[in-house]
Amino acid sequence: MDVFSKRKYLVIGLFSLVALIIVTRLFYIQVLDSSYKISAASNVLRREVNYPARGVIFDRNGKMLVFNQAAYDVLITPREMKPFDTLSFCRIVGVEKGELVNEINKAKIFSRYKPSPIIKQLSSQTYAVLQEQLFKYPGFFIQARTLRQYPSKIAAHVLGYVGEVDQKAIDANRYYENGDYIGRSGIEKAYEDELRGVKGISYKMVDVHQMVKGSFELGRMDTAAIIGKNLVSTLNGDLQAYAERLLSGKVGSVIAIEPATGEILVMASAPTFDPGLFVGRERSHNYSKLLIDPNKPMLNRAITSSYPPGSTFKIANALIGLEDGVLQTVRFSCSGPASTPIKCTHNHETPLGLISAIRESCNSFFWQAFRAEINHFPTPAEGLEAFRNSLLEIGIGKKIGGDLYGETSGNIPSVAYYDKYFGSGGWNSLTIRSLSIGQGELLVTPLQLSNMVSLIANRGYYIDPHLVRSILDIDGSQDSIQFEKHTIAAGLDNYEMIAQGMEQVVESGTARLTAKIDSLIYCGKTGTIQNPHGEAHSAFVAFAPKINPKIAIAVYIENGVWGGRYGAPIASLIIEKYLKGRIASKRQHFEDEMVNSDLISTMKLEGGD
């Protein structure tokens, strides 16, 4: 009756065919293709990093040198943004409109769905204003971070700074990721592992608006953040601040060590800068400004610059001669400025022994002492080799810092160096005589000079100079750090002889006018370093008091005219401040003079001639 009733099979066939196509497709995307599962996870999972607060650094008296302050990054999720009043937003956060647009575009290119920071490190004041207005800016949110804060603005070189990790650091250590902060110099760098703590990672489930909906797998994959450890530095904050004040207007450095422990009390380099400049939104601007400053304020001259030590080196020379047994009783003659082959700077008694020679800083004496030391060995080469090894043993010409970042080793010319210059056997003690008075190719760091006097102060040992005393654990316990002790057994009498000479330097010698402190017996040595490019450099090393010394110090002032001019007053003022607590009124004028002197602009004027 119905000729077309067979067509129902075609209709049913069509229904079934379409169902089969759909099932096949479902099988493909649900069972065979795993990429959708990955996309689903990246949709829903947000990896959240919880940055622990970085450890705080205290000075030896418990004064805070650096702590943390909250700062705020503004992030956007481009997909959720709506057109907004850019002008008033820019006014609140204080950025140029062009910069803002630029950052938003960058964020869009990165991802339309994931948040990315567009403005970093807003202050809490700006944050407070923005927070109230934030509802006007959909797609914007704020993330808290911590920034370093420096209450007294001192010790920029010692503390170092913190910055975003670069690719090199990320490659070297898988802990770091883009956007993390890392110590870049100073203590921040040397104690990075202790200070940074361990960041925590948690996985959160988010909805399409990036709103957190809960933890992933009940938080089983999450790790807790571990707060950074606090450090107790060896610095004396007050003394450091005082030293920095005395260095103002000058290029140079002060380094003071507690001899018995090797703890660095002061490490000041001038010119310096406010460590807070490396924090916050102006950071890169400030950084590049400091970078192009011709006086190189970022250079830590106390450990990174090496200079000829000049007459301060006579202490090392004397110690080596005494060790060799060639100086105990000798007396050498001096013809003052008429002396050959090295002139002596002034007239004094002659012939003279070691103690007087140190007091008078007699070039003739130390040249002859040096010749005796070299000639103590069969050949000049063997003599120099022994001389060099002795220097290395007392910590000159090598890195000695226990935990210092950026230290250089200085330089003691080797046998090979002179062989190359004069040919093997083509030189002798006369050829290399400038070494005897700390000039020529010899280069030492102020740190090595201070360590050298520390060795004399200890009468036979030094401990690697260091900046951190102990690490404070979260439970409050202190982990003291042990540093290596180096003993140089040259005989107590010999050390006493040098100390005697150095005492006379202060009492009646080259530093008597500027270094002498009432009712304090201490030991020092001036250094005036000829400088072919301008005024001579001024150096002074000292330890105080003579008996049971509490401080060993080296001061090196570039273009400081002569040892007694800037080096000795600065060193003596620091010693006086440290041991006496105050500067005697009759020495007050030294302080004023040091604080107010301005060698930097003078140099600039000279440069203009």
Binding site: I21, F27, I29, Q30, Y36, A40, N43
Partner: protein, 474 residues
Amino acid sequence: MKTNNNIWLNLDWATVLLYLLLVILGWVNIYAAVYSEEHQSILDAGQKYGKQLIWIIAGVILAIMVLSVDSKFYAAFAYHIYAVTILLLIAVLFLGKEVNGAKAWFEFGNIALQPAELGKFATNLALAKCLSQFDFKIQKMRSYLILVALIAIPSILIILQNDTGSALVFAVFVLVFYREGLNGMVLFWGFAAAALFILSLVLDQFKLLLFLLTISVAAYGVLRQSVKEALIGFMSIIGIFGITWLINRLFSLDGKPMELLVTTTLLATVLVVIYGILRRVQQVWRILLFFIFAIGISMSVNYFYKNVMAPHQRDRIDQVLGIKIDKLGKGYNVNQSKIAIGSGGFIGKGFLKGTQTKYNFVPEQSTDFIFCTVGEEWGFVGATVVLGLFLILLIRLVTLAERQRSQFSRVYGYGVACILFFHIAINISMTIGLAPVIGIPLPFFSYGGSSLWAFTVLLFIFLRLDASRTENLR
């Protein structure tokens, strides 16, 4: 009452059970799609699942009402219902409320009604009435025109409401006509046109022309039932192309490949015409007709596509055909929908464990994209089961339609099956990137009272007719 008892006895309870099962499954998935920790009560009328539950109950009452009406009513008043619906479709253009850019809704307080939904069963009734007339012969041109008009009027009105998706549903009636005796060639040409439409967009002109030449020669071989003649055809075309190419090179004519192929085609056509006249081979004319039709379609497709279609419609087609891949912009919905379904895996993440749907990554997840929840939480197994239930329902409806005594009931039954089929096929296909996103709901599953009631009425009118299947209705 006697007749009433009859109805409940004769009612096809298997279909009723399938209906209830699908509605409940749909409700469970709506619950999962909008589930959040804050709103857990299943009866919260402020939430979508709470409202849907009310609408399901209303739907069941509606079904009972539909069943209570005498079966003769539907046949008798088919045209009246159709007329009222057309009036409503016109009225909504002026009085309707605009939602998502489509002016398709009447609002009565809390309840929104979409006349386009009425259009489906009203048109179905009208078509059934029309086809079941004594003097109606589907093969006649006049009959075609009447049928086309019955479909075209509501379609155009719905397109005017800016709801192209709902209008496209009416195309599915061609299947009903086919069952009622429409020439199979119409169906064939319909599919051929659709295939050409897609090919014209996907292939460049050169490849398309090459493809059409190949198909024509192959089809000729099939019609003549001769491999030899097909091979001769291929060789001739290659030969002509070779000669054209050689002439082009010899005289440095600088012709582009496309120009050479067009020349080849024209020469081949001339030869075929001469061959057809000389040898009086009838099949030649059919193939030639097909070929010209195909060229015509593909040329008009490009025009239509570029000048008539709205940009958003073009984008949806581009996404499905892979012409443009834009996972973040226009393709966002489909991409997120595929991620949700794809991440379900074989057995799914479990009830209420679907992260993509729960955290709103899939847009319109309780309405047009409700199948994402099925795919994500119940996996391949669950999706296949749902699809299987739908297929069983469709086959059951076709079987019921075939057992009708009156043509009216049969046509109506086929209409119900085909309308449901179109919705199910296109809705699920669009969630897995097989069809463009045209925004039509998944029957019984998608959230919304209007569509649920429309499908319920559509289905239960047929069940009412089926309960009186021994009557002869016209």
